[in-house]
Symmetry: C2
Subunit: 136 residues, 2 copies
DNA sequence: CTTTTACTGCAACTCGATTGCAAAGATTAC
DNA sequence: GTAATCTTTGCAATCGAGTTGCAGTAAAAG
């Protein structure tokens, strides 16, 4: 496991206090985190600082963003070797009743054939419906 | 081609002035429309009336909503026989540079195998990147 | 015709995301 | 080492899509 400092060094992002705690929090969580999640976890760090930190991380491929159907963009640390390609990701299921998000590891990511000269940056499938608990 | 009145009758939605013009506008457009698009097109109809009309239409399967990566929910009239199933839909490509959305008719919708007792309501894949014009 | 229910328009509000600005901190030039 | 410059941070304010409360109007039911 790499430390926050090592990751930032590799990704050529200057280390600062805010960046360290944001990255540490993301690393410590199993699930992708929204800006609000991070804000709540880091009570003494300003929202806009976290926001700008996330943008910086994303630009430098320290993290990638996910739209999981909840309406809030979520962020997760890129795995080693992650190119933020669709193949590196998985889909999400959002329960419209209880607002929980589930990771769908079993649904294959389709091959995406884009028109000529289009460049793929990210792909994201959100499936919505009712989870087992709400589907009664 | 069905008239607005016929569609509303079939879907058992009471016909009103606002509903007619909103549906007429949606039918007249090639691309899915956002609330804002509709608001701009119908200068004298209130935003919240359009909003509630869209909700009513969606509940009664007159239209379905689409998340195309632009950040705004878009709406399109259901085709005849549309069950709003994933198979009835297509994916979208959102250009992060020029903010245009393209329909991806050629990308197959994957079979979605949900966990036991989960109920699918909608599925939506958004692909982001650069369109041919911006990828230079 | 009267009562009840549904629809509409306006204004206000929510909430996530984003920005302007000034202060603080870090880096570079001299 | 100190001044000038650039970057990061915190605060407050703003944006914009979506949503709601409320009162007036229109339509349906009795």
């Amino acid at each position: 496991m790499q430390t926050e400092e090592e990751i930032l060094k590799i990704k050529k992002v200057k280390n600062t206090a805010v960046r360290t705690v944001v990255l540490r929090h993301l690393l410590s969580q199993e699930k992708a985190q929204s800006l609000k999640d991070i804000e709540n976890a880091l009570a003494y760090t300003d929202r806009s600082s976290i926001f700008r930190t996330l943008k910086t991380f994303e630009e430098n491929k320290v993290i990638h963003s996910i739209e999981d159907g909840s309406g809030m963009t979520k962020y997760a640390v890129c795995a080693k070797g992650c190119n933020c390609d669709p193949k590196d990701l998985h889909h999400h299921f959002y329960c419209t009743n209880c607002d929980k998000t589930f990771c769908l590891f079993d649904v294959p990511i389709p091959k995406i054939q884009l028109p000529e000269n289009f460049k793929l940056q990210q792909a994201n499938m959100v499936v919505k419906g009712l989870c087992d608990n709400c589907n009664k």
